[in-house]
């Protein structure tokens, strides 16, 4: 659930989504759901000459399971907060398994 919440804080920021077939799509993160399916607006494919297939596409829905990486805008990530949330979630998990 943490990643879901985290990605929700990145809505309206520009991210680059790298798919498992190596295509990288840059665009504005518009929405994300619990499966980490992603909607991007105003997309642009990195290395468009190599991957021309999306050249006339303006926005996409990407199934979460085909995403390899999401490249984040460093400035929009509160690292301290994220660390804190990660530890808290880990502690919760540990509590549950007790």
């Amino acid at each position: 659930m943490l990643f879901f919440s985290f990605f929700k804080t990145l809505v309206d920021h520009e991210v680059t989504v790298e798919l498992k077939n190596d295509i990288q799509i840059k665009g504005t993160l518009k929405s994300v759901d619990q499966y980490l399916n992603i909607k991007l607006d105003d997309i642009q494919v990195v290395e468009e000459l190599k991957y021309p297939h999306l050249s006339s596409v303006k926005n996409v829905f990407i199934r979460g399971s085909v995403v390899r990486y999401v490249h984040l805008p460093g400035g929009a990530v509160d690292t301290a907060l994220l660390e804190d949330a990660t530890r808290r979630e880990a502690a919760q998990q540990a509590q549950k398994t007790k």
């Binding site: 798919l19 619990q34 021309p52 996409v60």
Partner: protein, 161 residues
């Protein structure tokens, strides 16, 4: 995809709900211990359950007047790549196979993809075939070389398991 809304994660799936509730009630609570959160299990998106697969498969698509656009990458550094459109007609797509959906910008669609020129289907098909054969040959060589160095191919690895 009406099943994939945010609602699903707050409530356990209905078929699990019945079994889960009594189990939680039976759990003894030690003194000073917090009551267990509503869901004792890992979040459902951690696993692909049969129910989720059903969710994914029950949304199918029917596409009509479909066109497949095929591309061949530029062969030399400065020459253009080529593309061709092939009319494919009606498609039935099982939802589970949908990996990406995109809305086409009709203005952009009037232009050719940057760095690519339209060619006839036969030409593009032929070039694509040649390219694939070339890639396959190269792949084979790479695999053989790696094999000589002790790296096993993906399929060889599976055989061990």
């Amino acid at each position: 995809m009406e099943h994939l809304n945010l609602h699903d994660n707050e409530m356990p799936p209905p078929q699990q709900g019945g079994a889960q509730t009594p189990m939680q009630q039976m759990q003894p609570l030690g003194p000073g211990m917090l009551p267990p959160p509503s869901s004792q299990q890992l979040p459902p998106q951690m696993f692909t359950t049969a129910a989720q697969l059903l969710d994914l498969t029950d949304t199918n698509l029917v596409l009509q007047s479909t066109i497949e656009r095929i591309f061949v990458a530029p062969s030399s550094a400065n020459g253009p790549g080529l593309y061709a459109d092939v009319n494919r007609g009606i498609f039935l797509v099982r939802g589970e196979n949908v990996l990406l959906l995109g809305e086409i910008d009709l203005d952009k669609d009037d232009d050719e993809p940057p760095g690519y020129e339209r060619a006839d289907v036969e030409t593009v098909h032929r070039l694509q075939k040649e390219q694939k054969a070339k890639d396959a040959r190269r792949e084979k060589i790479v695999k053989r070389r790696l094999g000589e160095l002790g790296f096993e191919g993906e399929n060889a690895g599976e055989a061990l398991i």
